[in-house]
């Protein structure tokens, strides 16, 4: 069976690509520190020697629209084009192209459906920055085949938070039951407190540093119970109107496992939002755990 080589949870910040590649007067003052932190974070995936990446993110009204809105969708295609005109326009993101791991997509769909998750699927999916940002930060070569999984964190009504945790747990089990000798990294991106298109956007910090502090602690400690106890679909409006992206962090806590402390934790307090990076090395990868300790 396949091995889960790493579980990685991260914020996805579409400004990273431009900040990290800009030079001279265009280079923002925080770019060097950001690049340094991303480089260290990238090493946690490199060290895992993954063959395949399962990438959990959320379409930002690109291919998926309100006339046909799945809650959870698995890409099942041999290839994926990536990034959209409005992401090139606003963030300067490059067009990208990935190979798909279609047999793993098929396994996740078949066994996921049989496990009680009514997963939607797509045979032609152009993916967006929720998936390409972690590829840019963690695997800029973009040379590993992927399975993209989209969650709805964007268009209410949403599933309850516990459902994201359950799906994360299921994705972990589905990867572990994939009849393959490959090493799979499960990577998911979301947000801490975030405001988009509201009065608290683009402030000097994220809109709710206290929420961010608690959220980082929950994730780092694998404290699913506490997160589920304090977070609801209603409460997530309060730290910032786009904070439902935290549900993808909760999904990744499910994938990492209850009570599992992250082997690598880092944060970066930026304008607009706090960046946060977490890596777990499961399945007794003790050597990797030791090397990956933050």
């Amino acid at each position: 069976m396949a091995t889960v080589a790493a579980v990685i949870a991260s914020t996805h910040h579409p400004f990273y690509y431009r900040a990290s590649t800009s030079t001279g007067e265009d280079r923002p003052p925080f770019a060097d520190e950001w690049v340094s932190k991303i480089t260290a974070f990238r090493e946690t995936l490199t060290r895992a020697n993954a063959d395949v990446l399962v990438l959990v993110g959320s379409d930002h009204f690109h291919q998926i629209w309100l006339d046909n809105m799945p809650q959870f969708l698995v890409g099942k295609a041999p290839f994926y084009d990536a990034n959209w005109y409005n992401e090139e326009r606003e963030f300067g993101l490059p067009r990208m192209f990935f190979k798909g791991q279609e047999d793993l997509s098929g396994h996740i769909l078949r066994d996921g459906l049989d496990a009680g998750f009514d997963l939607a699927f797509s045979n032609e999916l152009r993916i967006d920055h929720s998936v390409t940002c972690p590829m840019i930060t963690l695997r800029p070569e973009a040379d590993l085949p992927i399975v993209p999984i989209y969650t709805n964190i964007f268009a209410p009504p949403l599933p309850q938070p516990k459902r994201y945790v359950q799906l994360g747990r299921a994705i972990r089990e589905l990867v572990e039951s994939w009849p393959s000798d490959k090493r799979v990294a499960i990577i998911g991106t979301g947000h801490l407190s975030l405001e988009l298109g509201g009065p608290r956007q683009f402030g000097p910090h994220g809109p709710d540093p206290e929420f961010d502090r608690k959220a980082v602690e929950w994730i780092a400690n694998g404290d699913i119970e506490k997160a589920l106890g304090e977070v609801s679909l209603e409460s997530l409006w309060l730290p910032g109107n786009a904070t439902h992206g935290f549900l993808d962090f909760m999904l990744m806590m499910g994938a990492a496992g209850a009570g599992e402390k992250a082997d690598y934790v880092d944060t970066l307090d930026l304008f607009h939002t706090m960046e946060a990076y977490f890596t777990w090395y499961p399945n007794g990868s003790t050597e990797q755990k030791r090397e990956g300790a933050a």
Partner: protein
């Protein structure tokens, strides 16, 4: 009132570079044209099988026609869609980085939680 149709307008304009420019320079004409020609088009469905019932109410039509993004927020348009399209149209008019985004926040500063419902 149709939050869905407001969102559909923002979404379909935002993904078309020509329509972004047209909406920037001729907002009222673009809204009129779009409501007449595009509001009932089901995406990915050919024109013979369009919807028949979608239209703006006066407040929505006027908010779009006047680029009134604080009003769109109050009407429950999806903030991500509004922000993305309005950055595309107006960021270029501000010399400082994030100048438009901060002006946008300032113009919404009278709002407090809970924000208007964006459910469609």
């Amino acid at each position: 009132m149709s939050k869905y149709l407001l969102d559909k307008f923002l979404y379909t304009i935002d993904r078309d570079p020509d329509l972004v420019e047209r909406y920037r320079s001729q907002p009222r004409e673009t809204v009129q044209w779009w409501e007449a020609e595009r509001a009932n088009a089901i995406l990915n469905v050919h024109g013979g099988e369009c919807s028949t019932w979608l239209k703006f109410d006066e407040a929505e039509r006027d908010a779009l026609a006047t680029h009134d993004y604080p009003r769109l927020f109050e009407l429950g348009a999806h903030p991500f869609l509004t922000l993305t399209l309005f950055i595309a149209m107006f960021e270029r008019d501000y010399p400082e980085p994030l100048g438009f985004q901060l002006e946008y926040a300032r113009r919404l500063s009278h709002l407090s939680m809970p924000y208007p419902d964006i459910s469609t």
